[in-house]
C-alpha cells in the first residue's frame, strides 16, 4: 500500500491548527490554509470543504470572531481573529494534544 502522503485531519485537530494559526494575527480563510500548508511543508493540506465549516463553527462557539476587511486583491474578504476565550481554548487544546501525542509515542515505542 502506497503512502499517498495525504493525512486526513480530525475535526478537533483542525480546530487546534486554525486557532494556533490565528494566534499569530488576523487573516482570511485563504491565508489560513496557505499558512498551514507552508509551515507543515505541504504535509497538512486543508480542503476548502473542511476549512469553512470549521471556521463557521469556531465562530459560532465564540472562539474566533470575523470582520469584513479589504484583502490584498482589493476585494472584500472576511478576516478572522482570535478572541480572549479562543486564546484560552487554544491553551487547553494544545495541552491536550501534547499529552495525547506523548501517550501515543510511548505506546509506539514500547517493546
Amino acid at each position: 500500500m502506497q503512502n499517498s502522503g495525504k493525512i486526513d485531519l480530525l475535526q478537533g485537530t483542525l480546530d487546534l491548527l486554525i486557532l494556533r494559526t490565528l494566534s499569530t494575527g488576523s487573516m482570511h480563510g485563504w491565508s489560513i490554509s496557505e499558512r498551514i500548508e507552508q509551515i507543515s511543508s505541504d504535509v497538512l493540506q486543508i480542503g476548502q470543504g473542511s476549512l469553512y465549516p470549521a471556521l463557521h463553527r469556531l465562530e459560532r462557539q465564540g472562539w474566533i470572531k470575523a470582520e469584513w476587511g479589504v484583502s490584498e486583491l482589493g476585494r472584500r474578504a472576511r478576516f478572522y481573529s482570535l478572541t480572549a476565550r479562543g486564546r484560552k481554548q487554544l491553551e487547553i487544546e494544545t495541552e491536550n494534544w501534547l499529552r495525547f501525542s506523548a501517550a501515543v509515542g510511548h505506546v509506539l515505542r514500547m517493546t
Binding site: 482570511h28 480563510g29 485563504w30 480542503g47 476548502q48 470543504g49 469553512y52 465549516p53 463557521h56 463553527r57 459560532r60 465564540g62 470572531k65 484583502s71 486583491l73 476585494r75 472584500r76 474578504a77 472576511r78 478572541t83 476565550r85
Partner: protein, 905 residues
C-alpha cells in the same frame, strides 16, 4: 461571548439570505485566490480556473455544510417542508379533502366529548373562591357509589366540626307546582318543578346572594308550619312568570306544601346540581324539624361546606374521618360501615362517579373513532407515498438522509392533521351546540334549566391541538418509514410495486383489518344498546298503560275549602268519574307506578324480632278498585273495601315477590306484617305507614314501579286514609283516545278552579327520565358506530383502489395472456377478502369483550346478554359492505383495455 449566541442565532434565522450571500462571497474569494495561485504557478487561466474549481469541490456542498453548522437548520427545514407540503396538498385535492374530512370527523368527535366534560366537570364552579368549596358524601367500602346523609347526621357534623365556616345541607326533589294562592298568577295545570330543600345557610356557603328580595332566614330552619319561605331561580322566574315582580311575596302550593317566595337567586346559579333548580325551599318543609333531628334512618341530605381561610382539604378530610368514627361509636345501630368522603365541590357532586364512568365510556368510543380515522388516513398516505416512490428514490440518491425524508413526510401528515384539527374544532362547537340544545329540550319536561356552557375554552382548544399533532405524527410515521425503506435502483427504474413489496401489502392489509375490526366493535356496542332500548320500550310493566290516564289534581284546600266541603267535593268528583262513558275502573293513589317518585318503608313479618334491620320495599296508598283499574291480576285474596278505607283498617295487600320472601312456600293471606319505624318521616306532611300488625288480605302480581329495567323486589299496598285529598286519580277508560281531555273537563265541571294535569301512563313512562337516558345513549352510540362505519368504508375503498392500481400492469399481462375477467376479479379480491375476514373476526372478539367490560361498569345500560343474532347480523352487514367497497375498484381494473395498460408507464 455566550450572550451573543441567541442574537447570532436569531440573526442567522432572520437574515438568512444576507448570511447566504456573505458566505457566497467568502467562498468566491477563496476560489479566486486559488485560481491566481495556480496561474502564478504556471497553468493557463482556463486550466487554472478548472483546477481551482476541482480543488474547491462542490461549492454547494460546502455551503450546505456551513449552513448546517449555523444551527438554525431545523427551523428552516421545517418551514420549507410546510411550504412544500401545502403545495402538494393543493395539487392532490381529492386526497386532501378525503383525508381532512376523515380526520376532522375523528378529531371533532373527541373534541366534542372533551368539551362537554370540560364544561361540566373541569370548569370551576362560578362562585367566589370555588377552591374552598367542599362536597361531603357518604361512602361504603367496596363500591364507588356515594350516598346521602340523614338530617340528624348533618346536624352532628355541623355542630362538631372546626374546619368549615359554613356547612349546608340540601335535598333534591321533583315537585309539582299545583296552584297559586292568589288570583293574580294563575297556575292552570300541575307543572313539574325541580326543587331543592335547603338549610338557611346554603346561599351563604356558596357566597351567593339573592338578586331580588331576601334569603331564607335562620329562624325558618325551625319552622313547623307553612307557608315555608322559598327562593325562585331567575331562570324559572323569567321563563314562567316573565320576571313579574308580583311573584315575590306570593304563596304557591308545591306538591301539597304551602310556600312563599321571598327572593330570586342569580341567573344560572345551580350550586353543585347538574341543572338549575326552579325553586329552593326551606328544609323545614320536609317535616317537623324536631322529629327530623332525631331521624337517623331517612337519608336525604347532600352536604356542601366552605373551608375556613387557611384550612386545607387534607385537614378537613382528617377531621371528618375522626368525626365519622365518633358518629359510628355514638350510634352504632344506624351508622353501620359507612365512611365519609370529602372532596372538592364540582357540578355533579354526588353523581360524580356515575358521570365519570359514562364519560370514560364515551371517551373510549371516541378514541376508537379517531383510531379508525387515523388508520384511514394512514392508508391514504401510504397510497400516496407509493405513487411518489420515484421522487423519494431520486431524493435518496441525491444524498438526502432517510431521517430528513421521514421528517418531511411526517411534517406533511402533521400539517394535514393541524388543518383538520381547525375544522374539527369548529365542527365540534357547532355539533355540541346543537346536541346540548336537544338534550335540554328533551330533559326540560321534568323542570329545571339545563345550562351547559360551551363557550370556547383555551383548554379545549389546547386539547384539540395536542390531539391533532399526536394523530398527525402517529399516522404519518409508519407510512413514512415504510416508503423510505426503498431499494433506490429498482424504484428509479419504476418496477411494479406488486412484485417486490410484499411487506407493504401486509401493512396495507393490516390497516384494512384494523379499521374493520374497530368499526365492527363499535357497531356491536351500538347494536346492543339499541336492542336494550327496544326491550325497554317493549317491556310490559305489569299493568295497563295505554288506556289508563293519570289525573294529578291540586288540593281544594288552597282554594279555601273547609274540610267538610272537601269531602263533599270528593264524593261529587267520584260520582262524575264513575259515570264516565267506557269506564273500566277508577282508583285514587298516593303515587303512580313509574312516575319517578318512590316511597319506601321497612316491612317484616309481625312475628319478627324488630323492624330496625328489615329491608325496605316501595309502598303505595291505594283506594278500592286499584287492581281492577290497573289490570294487575290478584293471585290471591281481594281488593280493599270501602269500609276498610273509611276505618283505616290495618290491612294490606302485598306483591307476589314480597309474599314469597316473607313466607316462602306458604299462603300469605291471613298472615301479619309489621311496617315502618317510629323515627321515619314522610315528605310533604303526609303520613309514613307505621303498624306493628297488619293483616294481609291480598297478593298481587309483581309490577315494575321503580324503573323499567328491574321489577320491584316486592311491593306493599296500603289503604288510603279517608282524610287525605285524592291528589292522583287513575282512570281506566276503554276505547276513547281522547279520554285525557274529556276527563279534565269532568274535573273542572265539579270545580273549575282545580289545576289538573292529565296524561296516559304510556306517555308518562315514555317521556320519563329512565327511558330518555336509554334513548339518548343508544342514539349516541349508533351515531358513533355509523361514523366509524363510514370511515371504515372509505378506508377499505381507497386501500383496495390503491392495491389494484399497483397491480394494473400485472392485470394487463394476465389479460393479454388470456385470463378471463371473472378469474381476474377473484384474484384481485382474494387478498382483500382475507384481510376483511380477519378484521371481522377481530371485531367480534373486541366487540364482545368491550360489551362485557362495559356491562360491569355501567350495568344500567349494558347489562343483558348480547343477542348473538344481532352480532351475526352486524358482522355480516359490515363484511358485505366491505366487500362491496372492495369490489368496485377491482371491477374497474378488469374493464381496462390490456393494450393501454401494458403501454402505461
Amino acid at each position: 461571548m455566550y450572550w451573543k449566541q441567541p442574537f447570532q442565532w436569531i440573526r442567522s434565522l432572520l437574515f438568512r439570505s444576507r448570511a447566504d450571500s456573505e458566505l457566497d462571497e467568502e467562498l468566491k474569494f477563496h476560489l479566486e485566490m486559488t485560481q491566481r495561485k495556480l496561474a502564478a504557478d504556471g497553468s493557463a487561466p482556463v486550466d487554472a480556473r478548472r483546477q481551482a474549481a476541482i480543488l474547491f469541490g462542490g461549492t454547494e456542498a460546502v455551503k450546505e455544510q456551513c449552513r448546517d453548522v449555523r444551527g438554525t437548520r431545523w427551523i428552516e427545514d421545517f418551514f420549507k417542508d410546510c411550504v412544500f407540503a401545502l403545495r402538494l396538498l393543493r395539487k392532490d385535492r381529492y386526497y386532501t379533502i378525503a383525508a381532512t374530512l376523515a380526520l376532522a370527523l375523528g378529531i371533532g368527535a373527541n373534541a366534542a366529548v372533551f368539551t362537554i366534560f370540560n364544561s361540566v366537570a373541569l370548569k370551576p364552579l362560578p362562585v367566589p373562591d370555588p377552591a374552598s368549596l367542599v362536597s361531603i358524601n357518604r361512602t361504603a367500602p367496596g363500591t364507588p357509589l356515594t350516598g346521602l346523609f340523614s338530617f340528624a347526621d348533618y346536624l352532628y357534623y355541623r355542630d362538631r366540626n372546626t374546619v368549615f365556616s359554613s356547612l349546608a345541607a340540601e335535598t333534591p326533589e321533583h315537585l309539582r307546582l299545583a296552584a297559586s294562592g292568589s288570583a293574580g298568577l294563575p297556575v292552570t295545570t300541575a307543572e313539574p318543578l325541580v326543587g331543592l330543600f335547603v338549610t338557611s345557610n346554603y346561599l351563604a356557603t356558596f357566597g351567593v346572594h339573592p338578586v331580588v328580595g331576601h334569603n331564607i332566614s335562620p329562624e325558618d330552619d325551625a319552622r313547623t308550619a307553612g307557608p315555608y319561605p322559598a327562593l325562585m331561580s331567575e331562570n324559572y322566574w323569567q321563563r314562567r312568570f316573565s320576571g313579574d315582580p308580583g311573584v315575590l311575596g306570593q304563596s304557591f302550593v308545591v306538591s301539597g306544601v304551602s310556600v312563599q317566595i321571598v327572593g330570586i337567586t342569580p341567573r344560572d346559579f345551580m350550586g353543585t346540581r347538574p341543572e338549575v333548580p326552579d325553586i329552593w325551599i326551606a328544609s323545614s318543609a320536609l317535616g317537623d324539624p324536631g322529629r327530623r333531628a332525631l331521624d337517623r334512618t331517612t337519608l336525604s341530605c347532600a352536604l356542601t361546606g366552605r373551608l375556613k381561610p387557611g384550612i386545607t382539604l387534607a385537614q378537613a378530610r382528617a377531621e371528618f374521618a375522626v368525626l365519622a368514627t365518633s358518629l359510628k361509636n355514638d350510634y352504632p345501630a344506624q351508622a353501620r360501615q359507612w365512611n365519609v368522603l370529602v372532596s372538592p365541590a364540582t357540578r355533579f357532586a354526588n353523581l360524580h362517579f356515575a358521570f365519570m364512568r359514562l364519560y370514560a365510556v364515551l371517551q373510549i368510543a371516541m378514541v376508537l373513532v379517531l383510531l379508525i380515522a387515523c388508520t384511514n388516513v394512514a392508508g391514504l398516505l401510504l397510497s400516496r407515498a407509493a405513487t411518489r416512490q420515484r421522487e423519494i428514490a431520486v431524493r435518496l440518491s441525491l444524498g438526502a438522509s432517510r431521517a430528513r425524508l421521514v421528517r418531511q413526510l411526517v411534517t406533511e401528515g402533521t400539517l394535514l392533521a393541524a388543518v383538520a384539527g381547525i375544522f374539527a374544532y369548529i365542527f365540534a362547537l357547532y355539533a355540541m351546540g346543537m346536541i346540548s340544545r336537544q338534550i335540554s329540550a328533551s330533559l326540560a319536561a321534568g323542570g329545571g334549566t339545563m345550562v351547559i356552557d360551551l363557550t370556547p375554552d383555551p383548554r379545549a382548544f389546547g386539547y384539540v391541538l395536542v390531539l391533532s399533532l399526536v394523530a398527525g405524527i402517529s399516522f404519518a410515521l409508519m407510512p413514512a418509514l415504510q416508503s423510505t425503506r426503498v431499494d433506490v435502483s429498482s424504484a428509479l427504474k419504476q418496477e411494479m410495486a406488486g412484485f417486490g413489496f410484499y411487506h407493504k401489502g401486509r401493512l396495507r392489509g393490516a390497516l384494512i383489518a384494523a379499521q374493520i375490526s374497530v368499526c365492527l366493535a363499535l357497531l356491536i356496542g351500538a347494536g346492543l344498546l339499541v336492542q336494550q332500548s327496544l326491550r325497554v320500550l317493549a317491556v310490559d310493566p305489569g299493568f295497563e298503560t295505554k288506556s289508563v290516564v293519570s289525573l294529578q289534581i291540586s288540593s281544594p284546600q288552597e282554594l279555601g275549602y273547609t274540610a267538610g266541603r272537601i269531602s263533599e267535593l270528593q264524593s261529587r268528583l267520584e260520582q262524575r268519574l264513575h259515570a264516565f262513558p267506557g269506564l273500566v275502573g277508577v282508583a285514587f293513589v298516593s303515587r303512580t307506578p313509574l312516575d319517578g317518585n318512590v316511597t319506601t318503608t321497612r316491612v317484616t313479618r309481625a312475628d319478627a324480632a324488630s323492624t330496625a334491620e328489615a329491608q325496605r320495599y316501595p309502598y303505595t296508598y291505594i283506594s278500592t278498585d286499584f287492581f281492577k283499574t290497573m289490570d294487575i291480576p290478584l293471585r290471591r285474596g281481594r281488593e280493599f273495601t270501602a269500609e276498610e278505607l273509611a276505618a283505616t283498617a290495618s290491612v294490606a295487600v302485598v306483591s307476589d315477590a314480597l309474599a314469597q320472601r316473607l313466607w316462602p312456600g306458604e299462603d300469605a293471606i291471613g298472615k301479619h306484617l309489621a311496617v315502618g319505624s317510629a323515627t321515619e318521616t314522610h315528605y310533604y306532611g303526609g303520613r309514613a305507614p307505621l303498624s306493628s300488625s297488619m293483616e294481609v288480605i291480598g297478593v298481587a302480581s309483581d309490577i315494575y314501579s321503580q324503573d323499567v329495567v328491574l321489577p320491584d323486589p316486592g311491593a306493599l299496598y296500603l289503604p288510603k286514609p279517608p282524610s287525605e285529598w285524592n291528589a292522583i286519580a287513575l282512570v281506566h277508560v276503554h276505547g276513547d283516545a281522547n279520554a285525557a281531555a274529556a276527563l279534565v273537563n269532568e274535573v273542572h265541571a265539579a270545580e273549575p278552579n282545580l289545576a289538573v294535569n292529565a296524561e296516559t301512563l304510556s306517555h308518562m313512562i315514555a317521556t320519563g327520565e329512565a327511558s330518555a337516558t336509554f334513548h339518548v345513549s343508544s342514539i349516541v352510540f349508533l351515531a358513533i358506530g355509523l361514523l366509524g362505519f363510514v370511515l371504515a368504508s372509505i378506508g377499505v375503498y381507497s386501500m383496495v383502489a390503491y392495491t389494484v392500481t399497483q397491480q394494473t400492469r400485472e392485470v394487463g399481462i394476465r389479460m393479454a395472456l388470456g385470463a378471463q375477467r371473472g378469474q381476474l376479479l377473484r384474484v384481485l379480491l382474494a387478498a382483500s377478502s382475507r384481510w376483511i375476514a380477519a378484521g371481522l373476526v377481530a371485531g367480534v372478539v373486541i366487540g364482545f369483550t368491550m360489551v362485557r367490560v362495559l356491562g360491569t361498569q355501567i350495568p344500567q345500560l349494558f347489562s343483558g346478554a348480547a343477542n348473538p343474532w344481532v352480532i351475526l347480523a352486524v358482522s355480516l352487514a359490515t363484511g358485505a359492505f366491505a366487500m362491496i367497497a372492495a369490489y368496485f375498484p377491482a371491477r374497474r381494473a378488469t374493464l381496462l383495455d390490456p393494450a393501454t395498460v401494458l403501454r402505461w408507464e
